[in-house]
């Protein structure tokens, strides 16, 4: 438990170490490999240069029991309401077939939407809220009310001003309307207009695209890159171009729907490994190479590993050094989706590859989106020149999808130049550092308050666990009353017992805004009883003091 090789300067340092170990031994998901690497440096040929601390604390057992109780009550009442709707005691608000089609094969399968009808509808007012300003650190919200318990909404006409935005993926704060910042974008808008009206392979390649692709390649440190108009389509349309039947895809448990869709469309065999679990991945790789394809026992044509840089529902960062060493050992390919991590992690904002101090040559296919950190839309795929040339001819997106429009491309160019420092200011570097500071501060304060937070200490995505279905609606509504907009996520997107509120910290948030949010969370945490963590210092002040006394001997 204690760290024998650490240099200690006396009681204070010892105490700090012991307290650290006391906290971390409970919190580490896998404490064998990671701690060893931290102490000794080299293990299995890979190195984690800084501490890799991830938290996935489990709540006390009674929380799970009460969550199921809540869902049970909801289900009983769901059945009651369905019964009333079926027997005409209550008006049906969902889609139903016409009278003439009653004897046909049913078009709307009633039971499958049970959860949507009976639980989601009751708290539906917390999602799809229309905003009417730029989604910067604050935004304006259109107020809406419902007369029939969330089946229909109407706008009152009032606008709620300056709601603090904790839900937008605005990591570097580039979603802004400052006229000086958008000067070049307005020029390009007046020069090119907004429509491209063609695909990349026909007449849709502009000089802006060529300029952008060169810039992206320089930014990431690779040979070449290609940009696409839509981030989701970048994944779902390019994975089928890279793999096909006879190939093997090893995909993480919690991969995004775009990766899953792309993998299924490709027709390759898909095998899933446990989230961020290197042992599970290695077992799958060994089985794949030893046993080959299922019936013919031939070698797989290609083995590709699909991972993400930051997983947006968990806030965890991929264990890239270990995965790269595995891929080199077993000769597989690696596809890294940096949708949330490009611009958000790394000392200069170049993503998880830089965060771990690795070279971009280690990853075969670097994919990312411009929607999150660059305040634009679209995605890119970068890597060796041969790969990108192949995609230019064979990708479905290049052949059939309209290319990115010029003002959006210019926005990305100006954001990237700002990040790289090519516009002559240090604003980009300042934004990245501000994001890092905000992330660490926010996470540290939430841990101290006693909430259960998932994920890596350096990831700007902060999921705060709510667990019970009743609290999802209450949390979002009360936060809005305090003028803070949050995103809450429930069952289909997360496991049934682990519903959460997901905060996205931004470089544009000032310390005052974060303090306001933290104070509101403190109050709300006490009122809703959300502080389940057993490891926070504030929830066990006497334990902290006791440890100090023990070592003072």
């Amino acid at each position: 438990m204690a760290n024998p090789s650490a240099v200690c300067n006396g009681h204070l340092h010892h105490h700090h170490q012991k307290q650290n170990n006391l906290l971390k031994s409970g919190i580490y998901k896998k404490n064998g490999i990671t701690k060893g690497m931290k102490k000794n440096g080299v293990s299995n040929g890979t190195v984690y240069r800084k501490k890799f601390v991830e938290h996935f604390e489990q709540a006390p057992m009674y929380v799970a029991v009460l969550t199921f109780l809540g869902f049970g009550v909801g289900t009983v009442f769901g059945y009651l309401r369905d019964f009333m709707r079926a027997w005409g005691l209550e008006k049906r608000n969902i889609a139903a077939e016409r009278e003439q089609q009653k004897d046909f094969v049913p078009l709307y399968q009633d039971f499958e939407n049970f959860y949507t009808r009976n639980l989601y509808m009751r708290i539906r007012d917390n999602w799809n809220r229309p905003i009417c300003s730029v989604p910067g650190p604050q935004f304006d919200l259109m107020e809406r009310v419902t007369d029939d318990y969330n089946w229909t909404f109407r706008f009152t006409g009032r606008i709620i001003k300056n709601v603090i935005n904790m839900g937008s993926y605005n990591y570097l704060g580039f979603a802004e309307t400052d006229v000086n910042a958008l000067k070049t974008v307005t020029i390009e808008l007046q020069k090119y207009g907004t429509g491209i009206c063609s695909t990349r392979q026909e007449m849709g390649t502009l000089d802006k695209h060529v300029e952008l692709e060169k810039l992206v390649a320089t930014f990431l440190g690779v040979e070449d890159a290609m940009v696409f108009g839509m981030g989701f389509a970048t994944n779902s349309m390019n994975i089928p171009a890279l793999v096909g039947k006879g190939c093997l895809i090893l995909s993480d448990e919690l991969n995004h729907t775009s990766l899953v869709l792309g993998a299924r469309l490709s027709g390759a065999t898909i095998r899933i490994f446990k989230h961020n679990n290197i042992q599970s991945l290695e077992n799958l790789l060994r089985d794949a190479i030893i046993y080959g394809q299922p019936r013919s026992r031939r070698a797989w044509r290609k083995i590709i590993i699909l991972v993400e840089g930051i997983y947006s529902m968990e806030g965890s960062i991929v264990r890239l050094p270990e995965i790269v060493s595995l891929k080199k050992k077993y000769k597989a390919y690696l596809y890294l989706d940096e949708a949330h991590s490009i611009g958000a992690v790394g000392t200069t904002g170049r993503g998880v590859v830089e965060y771990f101090g690795m070279s971009p040559d280690d990853v075969d296919v670097l994919m990312g989106t411009f929607t999150k950190s660059f305040g634009a839309a679209g995605g890119y795929i970068a890597g060796k020149k041969d790969l990108v040339d192949f995609l230019r001819t064979h990708s479905h997106s290049a052949v059939y999808a309209t290319s990115m429009c010029a003002p959006v491309a210019e926005q990305i160019i100006r954001a990237m130049k700002c990040l790289m420092g090519l516009d002559g200011t240090t604003q980009g570097q300042q934004r990245v550092q501000q994001l890092g500071k905000n992330t660490r501060y926010f996470r540290r304060r939430l841990h101290e308050m006693g909430f259960i937070i998932y994920g890596n200490d350096d990831s700007p995505v902060v999921p705060l666990l709510l667990y019970m279905p009743g609290k999802i609606g209450a949390f979002a509504r009360r936060m809005l009353e305090k003028n803070i907009g949050v995103v809450v996520v429930g069952f289909p997107a997360t496991p049934i017992t682990e519903s959460r509120a997901r905060f996205c910290v931004s470089a544009a948030h000032t310390r005052e805004m974060l303090d306001m949010v933290l104070n509101a969370l403190d109050e709300l945490g006490d009122f809703l009883h959300l502080k389940y963590s057993r490891y926070s210092k504030s929830s066990h002040p006497e334990l902290y003091e006791e440890t100090r006394l023990e070592l003072e001997d």
Binding site: L69, G70, G74, F77, R122, Y149, M468, P469, G470
Partner: protein, 80 residues
């Protein structure tokens, strides 16, 4: 002052009950139904306790008393 904090605490407890059992999400008539059901169950349990528990306790008490009396009698007869 104490009454106020007691009232606040009770209100907080009531809110917790509402959140945990999802009655926060229910429409008013559903809440009425749910609370009526719960209160009825509680009243039935209490009534059953009131009727049966004293009888059970006194029967159990008499049983144990009888057991010790028997033992004592047997011991006494041997010594004689």
């Amino acid at each position: 002052m104490d009454i106020k904090s007691m009232k606040n605490y009770l209100y907080w407890l009531y809110c917790q009950f509402e959140l945990i059992t999802c009655s926060y999400l229910m429409e008013p008539w559903e809440k009425l139904l749910f609370y009526t059901f719960n209160i009825m169950m509680l009243v039935m349990v209490l009534y059953t306790t009131y009727i049966f528990v004293p009888v059970h306790i006194s029967t159990a008490f008499q049983f144990f008393l009888h057991l010790f009396e028997n033992q004592h009698e047997n011991a006494v007869s041997v010594v004689k």
